[in-house]
Assembly symmetry: C2
């Protein structure tokens, strides 16, 4: 099946600590930008899919589908999808099915999160809802704790050094400097990462993506075309808790979703020139490159060493998190998957390259969504 | 488009205060029953859609998609959908699109809620997330308060008496006596409703659906057939807050979804013989009958008077909430929409009648989903 679904419009807010904006304001700003950048009017939107994880806890607000619908004058039907930090990819996947079923022709997908209105304890606890509340939460684990365990095991198995791991966030911050929507537009040295405050050994503060507000929206269409086609949309699941997995230094949901996405697109991995991947913690970026197949297990750091040494992405085919990734851009959790797809599309259009991949997961990759975009302009 | 999607399996837990069961236990019990009652094995399920509203708050658990996936040995992809108390219908609608798109052939839809593990204040506040947290919550409104305002206005406009309104819950309780899964299997008199504790004037305790635990699951399929076909699946949205609506004694989302569902099914309303409708509060049942088109505005009570007088549904074509509805069965909010469809299917198969309709809404019908089932056996 060759998808005739095109990404015909996109917009986002800045990501960051946006004290002066409500969750509705964020949704509206991203929506207005997406429609303004598309060949549609608001009235052409016949369905909305909202991606949100935390608003019940952080904003006392469920039922964001109804808020989304209220943003447009004709109140189109709207659905909310949640899959923790992977919500964005799952919302996009739902939108794809709605288009493929013929039930809609122009679907607005909005990812939004307003995380800074509550205490750090509240948001950390709410994020822990992405893990297993019966088995991991009672052990005192937080998400930095879970990825700290994963990093410990990875360093033990593959001999990764603390100094090398610090290259990951340094690259992401450097990339973010060019992104006007990024939360952190400042370079940091690897030494600064290594010497930042300890969070969950061996992870330091600057290994961790931040708490962010923000929204991103895009329009997928079977009615209009433009230069970017969605060549594949796949989702996969794994055990929710890491305690039920045979290994924790590799995520099977990523492998499953990516393999099926490449099959759906009918391409080989080497044809992917642009990648946005889910670096919720620095260690995740390395595991992701390996699970996606860009390198062997334990070798992810070599790609970052190469990128860091070259200071920029010109001359290498594989641009990784050119937007700044979750660490540099910020991570309003359910907006991230939408933002990734928008950034992949931008990079394809800017560079003229053909294929890009967006990789978004929830929890410790208990769920994962992969989208492949094709530049057809 | 004639849907070839069949409801091929269904199961549910009892609804009630299920202190000894976790949210995972509830999902598992309903899932096992649905698979056991279908021509499928677990391995035939290629996608799961989970309907849940409250677990982030009531159970500290988001990411129910990953829990659902873990219930089956092959960990199929899973998505969570939320649209407040209308989540069930929206999950079914999402499953329909996944089947119609060809992305799945056997979709398990699980609705679940575990509401009794937290204080009444916590659950009441969480439910208020279905309303507008910027505009209605700060006014001190709760959901009984919102429907109390609606009931006040309805009684003013149409002259409905408090005594007549009490027939609604009496009928639902009577119906629930025959339902082994119902929370309240006991008859109540209209006088008992009228004299129960005041909650939000004019609504009394026995006008209100209860706080409930429970799960319901069904399997929709394009691969297998059985006697019940999904003839229509439609969703609609309205303003989230009642303050933005020209009238509050009628819900436009119900009208929109029902009108489109009848068109999709290619039938007239008079062909519907079985109805499960969203009686979160007694007044809602009357408004729903009117919005669905079974009677004129202000006349809904006449249908209940007729049903009450006949003591049972034999001899009348339109069975209303024969399961007991939300009041009699209980209302584990995101499970309700799934349970309604299961009950409509059961009633069609039991009576041999052809068409039944399930009507499920979120909030004060800010979102609404309507499904029409056809008995093709």
């Amino acid at each position: 099946m060759i998808s005739n679904i095109h990404l015909i419009g996109a917009g986002q807010t800045r990501f960051g600590e946006l004290w002066d904006k409500s969750i509705r304001d964020l949704m509206e700003e991203a929506t207005d930008a997406a429609i303004a950048n598309s060949p549609c009017t608001a009235l052409d939107i016949d369905l909305i899919v909202v991606s949100n994880m935390l608003a019940e806890v952080t904003n006392g607000q469920a039922h964001l589908s109804a808020i989304a619908s209220s943003l447009l004058p004709h109140h189109p039907p709207a659905i909310r999808v949640e899959s923790a930090c992977g919500s964005g990819a799952f919302a996009l996947h739902t939108a794809m099915a709605m288009l493929e079923s013929g039930r809609a022709r122009n679907v607005l997908v909005i990812g939004v999160e307003k995380m800074t209105d509550v205490s750090m304890e509240t948001v950390a606890s709410a994020l822990m809802g992405a893990a297993d509340s019966e088995q991991e939460r009672p052990a005192g684990l937080t998400f930095p704790g879970i990825f700290g365990l994963i990093a410990q095991r990875y360093m033990h198995d593959f001999g990764l050094s603390r100094e090398d791991l610090s290259l990951v966030s340094a690259v992401h911050h450097r990339n973010a400097c060019a992104n006007p929507f990024a939360q952190f537009r400042s370079e940091i040295t690897p030494d600064a990462v290594s010497s930042s405050a300890a969070v969950a050994d061996p992870l330091r503060l600057l290994d961790c993506s931040p708490i962010s507000d923000g929204a991103a929206a895009c329009i997928l269409s079977t009615e209009h075309v433009n230069g970017v086609r969605v060549a594949a949309s796949q989702i996969a699941s794994d055990s929710l808790s890491i305690i039920h997995r045979p290994v924790i230094t590799s995520f099977s949901a990523t492998k499953d979703a990516a393999e099926r996405a490449l099959t759906e697109a009918g391409i080989k991995l080497k044809e992917i020139d642009v990648l946005e991947t889910h670096d919720c913690f620095s260690i995740a970026a390395l595991i992701n490159l390996e699970d996606l197949g860009f390198c062997d297990p334990g070798q992810g750091i070599n790609i970052y060493k190469d990128i860091f040494a070259r200071r920029g992405d010109s001359g290498i085919a594989l641009g990784v998190n050119l937007s700044g990734g979750l660490k540099g851009c910020g991570h309003p959790v359910a907006a991230t998957g939408i933002k990734q797809v928008i950034d992949v599309a931008k990079q394809l259009q800017k560079t003229g390259r053909r294929y890009g991949l967006a990789h978004n997961f929830g929890g410790a990759a208990a769920t994962c969504g992969v989208h492949i975009l094709e530049n057809v302009s």
